[in-house]
Every structure is written in C-alpha cells, then in structure tokens.
C-alpha cells in the first residue's frame, strides 16, 4: 500500500476553519490526508502540541489562521507568528525536520487556497516520506 502521509492541522475558527468550510460549499476537491483541529485562534495554539502531534505519528503539520491585521481578536495571530519564529528555531535545534511544518494564513474567503495548501503540504510530505526518525529523537530523550 503506497505511503499516505498523515497531516495534522491546527486552524483558527474564524478564518481558516471558515475558509475550509467555503472549500466545502464550493465543492473543491483536495487530498483527504489532513485532520483538522479547531481552535478559537492561532494565539491559542501551544506549540508544544506540535511535538506531541509528531509523537502521535503525524508526518506533517499545518498551522493556519487569519492574515495579519485580520485577526478576529486583533492580535492573536501576531502572538502565534512570534511564537512560531522562536519555536521553529527550537525545533530545528532539537533535530525536528521543519520542512514538515507549514505555517500559513488562509482567510474565510480563500476556499481554493485551503485546498491548494493541503494538496501542496501533502505532496511535499509524501516526498519526504514517513517521519520514522522522530521516534529515535523521542526515545533518545528517554534513555
């Protein structure tokens, strides 16, 4: 059975989740590999959860919310962007393959863009293959 990457997506309710809803109402088809977790805002995402998602066997992660300046809560996405810049370097330092994590903005009007984002990430991760070596990383910490 060909390798089908598992993608976990942390999305904000007001923009990207609504955008994904629009992808649905527009009947735009995209890869079924993604599982979406709805949060009030990207500001709500605790980036430690990304490591836990890899631990649970995710091969790729998407974090997406409102475009800068469009956040329903004014500044939630700014906090997320700042945390992302720091956390990406930390993940790099820890040896996590940051090519597997995509941080993006998808607005409530960008149904087509959500489909394109999912397809692109799925294709990239499929190329990178299953994320086996995360387990050594995790176990290395344990011994």
């Amino acid at each position: 059975m060909a390798f089908e990457p598992k993608i976990t997506a942390f999305v904000c309710n007001w923009c990207t989740y609504a955008g994904a809803d629009l992808t649905g109402t527009s009947r735009i088809k995209y890869q079924p590999n993604v599982r979406v977790l709805r949060l009030p805002c990207t500001g709500r995402i605790d980036f430690m959860l990304l490591a836990k998602a890899f631990a649970r066997g995710a091969d790729g992660i998407i974090v997406s919310g409102c475009h800068p300046n469009d956040c329903h809560y004014t500044s939630g996405n700014y906090h997320a962007r700042r945390r992302w810049m720091v956390y990406r370097d930390l993940m790099d330092f820890m040896g996590i393959d940051t090519r597997r994590v995509t941080f993006s903005w998808v607005s409530a009007a960008e149904g087509a863009r959500w489909a394109q984002l999912v397809d692109e990430v799925t294709a990239t991760v499929r190329e990178l293959g299953p994320y086996e070596d995360y387990k050594e990383l995790a176990l290395a910490g344990v011994e």
């Binding site: 109402t25 527009s26 009947r27 088809k29």
Partner: protein, 190 residues
C-alpha cells in the same frame, strides 16, 4: 459555486485545439465586440474578429470551416489592438494566428489570400536560403508567385539611387543551422 464541469469540449474542433495549444479558453469571450471596434481593418472584413470568436466558441466543425474559409482572417495586420483592449483578456491576435495556420494546413485559405501568402512564402524562401532577407530576391520571388510582374516597377530605381537596394544577398555562416530550423518546424507540415 456549481459542481465540477463535466462535459469537455468536443476534441476535433478548433476551440479544443486552441484551448490545448494556446491555453486560450474561448468561453471567456462574452461577445462585447470591443476587438472588432478597435480593429483598423474591420470595415473591410467579411468576418470580423468578434464574429469569428462567436462561431469558434460554438465548437461546431461546420462553423470552424466557415471561419477558416473567410477572407477577413487574412486581412489581419497582427497589430495586437484586439488582445490589448479585450476586457476578458482573451488573446484574440494569437487565436487569429492559429486559425490562419490551420486554414493553410487544411487547404481552406480564401482565394483572396493568395497574394498575402505568396509574399510570406517568398519572404521565408529568402531567409531559408541565405539566413537573412534579400529584398531583391523577395520581390522577384513574390512576382513569380503572384504574377503581379509590374508591381512597384518604378520604385526599384528610386530605391537603388537612395542606396536602399543592395544588389548581392548576404550569406550568413549559420545557413545550414537556419535550414535545419526550417526543416524541423515548417518542414514537418503538421
């Protein structure tokens, strides 16, 4: 937000081939007539660009034939005014170019296009042989093909006196390279 389009255009029509080769979707044309309005030679055309696009977008081989047999498509100056001003960004000039090449290949070119084709073929003959245009060769070849032997006869001496008529052609070194280009493209007669 309708569901996915299912019925692809019938393959053996100009509309489908234009879609495939030029990436131009004739469905975009909503017949506003702006291309015909701006076309410098529209008043002389039996088939204006907007009417041609209408017949082509219906995807019917009989109508394709009507367009290819028209005289109008041969009057096109390829001045790109139509493509420049089209509100739907249809590349009308490119479409007309393609229609002409297919009309030629299908042997449907209008009789009144004979002179125009004679000129273009004479032009290309000159390049294929020497690599560059040899104007005297072009005019002579054109006269033989078009039978208009007396055309611009009075002009030749005036041109020569003004040093605008070099007598000898200029043969470039890469003549065979140019010959190969002709063989690999025009020669294929697709």
């Amino acid at each position: 937000m309708g569901s996915h389009a299912h019925a692809p255009t019938a393959p053996d029509t100009l509309k489908a081939r234009i879609r495939e080769h030029l990436g131009v979707n004739l469905n975009h044309c909503y017949q506003c007539g702006k291309c015909s309005a701006g076309c410098p030679v529209a008043e002389d055309m039996d088939m204006t660009s907007s009417r041609a696009l209408r017949l082509l977008q219906l995807g019917d081989p009989a109508l394709d034939r009507k367009v290819m047999e028209s005289e109008g498509i041969w009057l096109c100056l390829t001045c790109e005014t139509c493509s420049t001003r089209c509100p739907q960004e249809v590349e009308v000039a490119k479409v007309m170019d393609h229609v002409r090449t297919e009309a030629l290949r299908a042997g449907l070119a209008h009789p009144r296009s004979r002179d125009i084709l004679a000129f273009h073929r004479a032009f290309l003959d000159s390049i294929r042989v020497t690599g560059r245009l040899y104007e005297i060769g072009l005019v002579a070849n054109y006269k033989v093909r078009s039978r208009h032997f007396l055309k611009d006869v009075a002009l030749a001496p005036k041109m020569y006196l003004r040093g605008k008529l070099p007598l000898l052609p200029h043969l470039i070194k890469g003549r065979d390279a140019v010959g190969r280009i002709f063989a690999k493209t025009l020669g294929k007669g697709r």
